[in-house]
C-alpha cells in the first residue's frame, strides 16, 4: 500500500495552514461570526454541498477501470452525502433564511470558481482529482468544523444543534470519512493521478479560504 496520504498531507500542508491562519478564519474559529455573515456562509456552503454529488458522479463516470476502487468509493460516498444540502437548508431556516431565499441565492464568484473548477478537473483534467476536493472538504470539516461550530453557537447563542447541524455533524462524520479517504488514497499509485489530487486539494483550499474571506 502506498504512502500517498502522507505525501498529500505534506504537499498541501502550507495551503491548509494558509486556510487555518487566514485572519477571517482565525477570527471565525475564535469568536464565531455575526448573524448576517453566518447566513451568507451557509448560503455559499449550500451550493458547495449541492454540487458535491454531481461532481463526484462526473468523476466516477470518467474513471478508468484501473481506478475501479475509487469509483466504488465514490458511489458509497455519494450515497452517504445524498440529501445533506437539506441539512444546510434547515440550518438556514433556523437562523432566519427561508428556503426560497436559499434557492434564489446567487453564489459568490469564489464559490462558482470552486464548483466550476471541480467539474472541470473531474471532466477534463483527471477524474481522480475529485479526491483532492474530498480531502480538502473533509479536512476543513473534521479539523476545523468542531471548533467553528462551537464558536458560532457561543456567538449567536444557538441551542443544541439548531443552526449548526450541518457543520457539527460533518465535524464528527467526516472524522470517520478521513480514515476511509486515507485508505482509498493509498490505492492510487500512478503519479498523474496523485499530482491531480494534490493540485485539486491546493485549489480547493485556496478557493475555500476566499469563500470564507468574502462572507
Amino acid at each position: 500500500m502506498s504512502k500517498f496520504f502522507a505525501d498529500l498531507v505534506i504537499r498541501t500542508d502550507e495551503a491548509r495552514r494558509a486556510f487555518e491562519t487566514h485572519p477571517v478564519v482565525l477570527d471565525a474559529v475564535a469568536r464565531g461570526l455575526p448573524l448576517q455573515r453566518y447566513r451568507t456562509l451557509l448560503l455559499e456552503l449550500y451550493h458547495v454541498v449541492w454540487h458535491f454529488n454531481p461532481v463526484s458522479a462526473a468523476a466516477a463516470s470518467r474513471l478508468s477501470d484501473r481506478h475501479k476502487q475509487v469509483r466504488y468509493f465514490l458511489y458509497e460516498h455519494m450515497q452517504e452525502e445524498s440529501g445533506h444540502e437539506e441539512w444546510v437548508r434547515n440550518d438556514l431556516e433556523a437562523v432566519g433564511v427561508p428556503a426560497s431565499d436559499t434557492e434564489g441565492h446567487k453564489p459568490s464568484a469564489f464559490t462558482q470558481a470552486l464548483v466550476g473548477y471541480n467539474y472541470w478537473a473531474a471532466e477534463r483534467s483527471h477524474p481522480c482529482s475529485v479526491l483532492g476536493m474530498l480531502y480538502t472538504l473533509e479536512v476543513i470539516a473534521s479539523v476545523y468544523g468542531g471548533p467553528f461550530a462551537s464558536a458560532i453557537k457561543e456567538s449567536l447563542l444557538l441551542e443544541g444543534e439548531r443552526g449548526v447541524s450541518f457543520i457539527n455533524s460533518h465535524a464528527t462524520m467526516d472524522a470517520e470519512h478521513m480514515a476511509d479517504l486515507r485508505r482509498i488514497l493509498a490505492t492510487v499509485e500512478d503519479r498523474d493521478a496523485q499530482d491531480a489530487i494534490v493540485d485539486a486539494a491546493l485549489l480547493n483550499f485556496h478557493h475555500f479560504t476566499h469563500i470564507i474571506e468574502q462572507v
Binding site: 505534506i10 474559529v29 486515507r182
Partner: protein, 326 residues
C-alpha cells in the same frame, strides 16, 4: 572556514536562503547566528517550519567553523512556541495515519539529534524563551546548551490532558537535566511551571527580568566565546557521559504515534479547545492556550473531587497548576 565569508542580506552567503518562517541575523565577530522563529500567526512546529529549521542546521553542518554560536528565539510576542501543530495532529489522528505521525515525530527528533551533537560540530547553542512554551515547544529548548527564560515565561507538558505524552525527547532530556522524579512529575501531571520553578528544577539555566533576554544572550555568548573549545569539549564529554541514543528517541516517537491513534473524540475535542485558544491569542486576545490549560486542569480537578479521586501518585489526574509549588 573563517567569519570573513561573503555576506548576503546580512548573513553569510552560505547560510542565506529565503526563509518564510525564520529570520536570520549574523554577528560576524562572534560567529553568532541568531534564528528567530515567526510561524505566524500560530507559533508552532509546523511541517514547513520544521523543514526550514532543518535546512538552517544542515547549512551550518555543511560549513564547519562558520557558526560558533547558534541562538534561537521567537519573533512572536508572548509566545515562544505552542509545540506541535495541533490541527495537523487532529487531521492525522482522524485519518488514522500512523505513517505521517511517525514522519512528523522523526522530523522533530532529527532536530533534537542535531542539537544533541552541536558541540561535536563546534557550535555552542543558546535559546531565549520570552513567552509561553508548551509541549513540543518546551521539548525543543531542552537540547540547547544554555536555556534562558524571561521571568514571565511559562512552560509545561500539557499533553497528558488529552491522553498523550510529549514524544520528541522530553523524557530523556528532562531526566538528564532534572532527574527522573522531576521528569515523571512534569510529564504525568501536565502542569504548567513558571520560569523560576523551572530554574529550581534545573531545566532552565538562567531566568532574567522581562525585556533583558537579549542582553542575557550576549552575556552568555561573550562569556563562552573565549573558552569555546574547552566548553564544547566538556559539553561533548557530558553527552558521552549521559548519552541519548537516536534509537531510543525513535522508539519513543513510535510509541507516541501509536498512542496518538488511540485518542478518543473527547481527547481530540480537548486538543481542539487548546488549538482554539491558541487561535484566540494569535488574534490578539489576552488569554490563550496557557489559560485554557488552567481551565482544563480546573475542570479535571472538579471531576476528581466529585468522583472522590483525590489521591496522589501515578493514578491521580492532572490537578491544579503548581503555581505555589517549590
Amino acid at each position: 572556514m573563517t567569519t570573513d565569508a561573503p555576506v548576503r542580506n546580512g548573513v553569510p552567503a552560505l547560510l542565506a536562503r529565503p526563509y518564510k518562517y525564520l529570520r536570520l541575523e549574523w554577528t560576524a565577530e562572534l560567529g553568532m547566528l541568531r534564528v528567530r522563529t515567526c510561524v505566524k500567526p500560530i507559533q508552532c512546529y509546523s511541517l514547513a517550519g520544521l523543514a526550514e529549521m532543518q535546512r538552517v542546521l544542515d547549512d551550518i553542518a555543511a560549513n564547519p567553523g562558520l557558526v560558533r554560536h547558534l541562538v534561537l528565539s521567537s519573533d512572536v510576542t508572548g509566545v515562544f512556541n505552542f509545540g506541535g501543530d495541533l490541527a495537523l495532529f487532529v487531521l492525522l489522528v482522524r485519518a488514522q495515519d500512523i505513517d505521517s505521525l511517525k514522519m512528523y515525530g522523526r522530523r522533530c527528533i532529527d532536530l533534537v539529534w542535531w542539537l544533541e551533537h552541536a558541540a561535536l560540530r563546534g557550535v555552542h547553542t543558546t535559546v531565549l524563551v520570552q513567552g509561553d512554551t508548551l509541549g513540543g515547544g518546551l521539548e525543543s529548548v531542552l537540547p540547547f546548551h544554555k536555556v534562558i527564560f524571561e521571568r514571565s515565561a511559562q512552560a509545561g507538558f500539557p499533553e497528558v490532558l488529552f491522553n498523550l505524552f510529549p514524544g520528541m525527547g522530553a523524557w530523556p532530556l528532562t531526566i538528564r537535566k532534572a532527574g527522573f522524579a522531576v521528569a515523571k512529575d512534569m510529564i504525568l501531571s501536565g502542569r504548567l511551571y513558571t520560569a523560576d520553578q523551572l530554574l529550581r528544577r534545573s531545566l532552565v539555566d538562567a531566568v532574567v527580568d522581562d525585556g533583558t533576554g537579549e542582553e542575557a544572550i550576549l552575556e552568555v555568548v561573550r562569556s563562552v566565546e573565549p573558552r569555546l573549545r574547552g566548553t564544547l569539549a566538556a559539553l561533548n564529554a557530558q553527552r558521552i557521559a549521559a548519552p541519548v541514543s537516536y534509537e531510543s528517541l525513535l522508539a519513543v516517537v513510535e510509541s507516541w504515534a501509536e498512542t496518538a491513534l488511540t485518542l478518543t473524540t473527547r481527547d481530540l475535542k480537548l486538543m481542539e479547545r487548546l488549538a482554539r485558544a491558541q487561535v484566540r491569542k494569535a488574534g490578539g486576545a489576552e488569554e490563550g492556550a496557557v489559560e485554557e490549560i488552567k481551565r482544563i486542569e480546573l475542570d479535571t480537578a472538579w471531576g476528581e473531587l466529585r468522583s472522590g479521586n483525590t489521591g496522589f501518585g501515578e493514578e491521580r489526574g492532572t490537578g491544579l497548576t503548581a503555581w505555589g509549588a517549590l
